[in-house]
Symmetry: C2
Subunit: 209 residues, 2 copies
């Protein structure tokens, strides 16, 4: 073959991409670095040239994905104004859009959390708690100002987050060129529509008047 599967110099991206695929399909312990290297079209040694090991491959994936989620949340809240319903909707939009645009990584981050190096897990646990606080503050503010009438804000918050997160488990992106849409009515639902639907659900969960 005249052209190699992976152009020289682009090894790092190829390995990262292969690791993402393998971790998503078989989980962290179910993936072998040999398989990851083979998927990338490289040797095992090339993997170690670009990364320090299997653990760091997982950490980098989760860390980058988690950081992007926070960027999306901050951006959404910064332009959301002061109204509790608008702020809740902004957080729902950020979460839904993150879960569909980074469907694979976000699922890995959620399910392979326990396989992180203890130090990394502890550090990222702080971020997770901060995200939880973002939701809690908005719901508490809405309740305090009489905009939300739900009796149990913590349960409402957890229900909303769980519903948004679950989207990554079933959503299938739009397929313009694929007429066969199978038996799943929501296949290919446009993301803005999805955001609208889950915003409406969230507002009902907090009992917004």
């Amino acid at each position: 073959m005249s052209s190699p599967a992976v152009p020289r110099g682009s090894g790092r991206d190829a390995i990262t991409r292969a690791a993402r695929e393998s971790f998503a399909e078989r989980g962290y312990h179910g993936s072998s670095i040999r398989d990851i290297a083979a998927r990338a079209g490289l040797s095992l040694s090339a993997l170690y040239h670009w990364h320090s090991g299997k653990q760091e491959l997982l950490t980098a994936l989760i860390e980058e994905s988690t950081a992007e989620y926070f960027r999306r949340c901050d951006e959404a809240l910064r332009t959301a104004g002061d109204d509790p319903a608008a702020r809740l909707g902004a957080l729902v939009r950020a979460t839904v859009e993150y879960r569909v645009s980074r469907q694979v990584e976000s699922t890995i981050a959620a399910s392979e959390w326990r396989n992180l190096d203890p130090a990394d897990r502890e550090r990222l646990d702080g971020l997770r708690a901060a995200a939880s606080r973002l939701w809690a503050d908005i719901v508490a503010d809405g309740v305090a100002r009489g905009a939300f009438a739900c009796e149990h804000p913590d349960d409402a918050r957890r229900a909303i987050v769980a519903a948004c997160n679950a989207i990554a488990h079933w959503y299938e992106p739009e397929q313009g060129y694929e007429p066969d849409q199978g038996d799943e009515p929501d296949r290919g639902l446009a993301v803005p529509d999805l955001v609208d639907r889950y915003t409406a659900i969230a507002l009902r969960v907090v009992d917004c008047r």
Copy 2:
């Protein structure tokens, strides 16, 4: 030691219990059968005396847990009458009670699904589809009879199921003898109260009038 860690004859239960713990803590591929046998206080060979291998250990765990979920659903729906809200509440109750009473197994079933033997996975996928239909029929019936006003029944259904399932991720059982309740306000919340809260949330999600 005069008394062995595991009484003679109770090896099977000890191994099943150890497998449940290990799979929950480290996942299927992260667990080794040597560790499972050691947890059970038995030798590796005793494990193979009672089970045919690692795979069957996982299958038995998930299969038993899934079957119990269906028993709970059938029982709840049989005594629920005809009212859509009552039937939805019954399914929420069955799901919440299952998720807290079988917290560990239900989490394993949800996260280690992909590591099942293909034949077993296919068979159990049928059960999962049946459960999904249980929810969908109730919501569709409520919408058709004007009891539920939500515009997107499938999204409402998925949101409710996701919220109920997520309980297993955060719930901590009541601890009567433990005065220190930490910083988690919902720690030790009684199960009937939890059911009431999530039933109310579910009814708001389907926009019950």
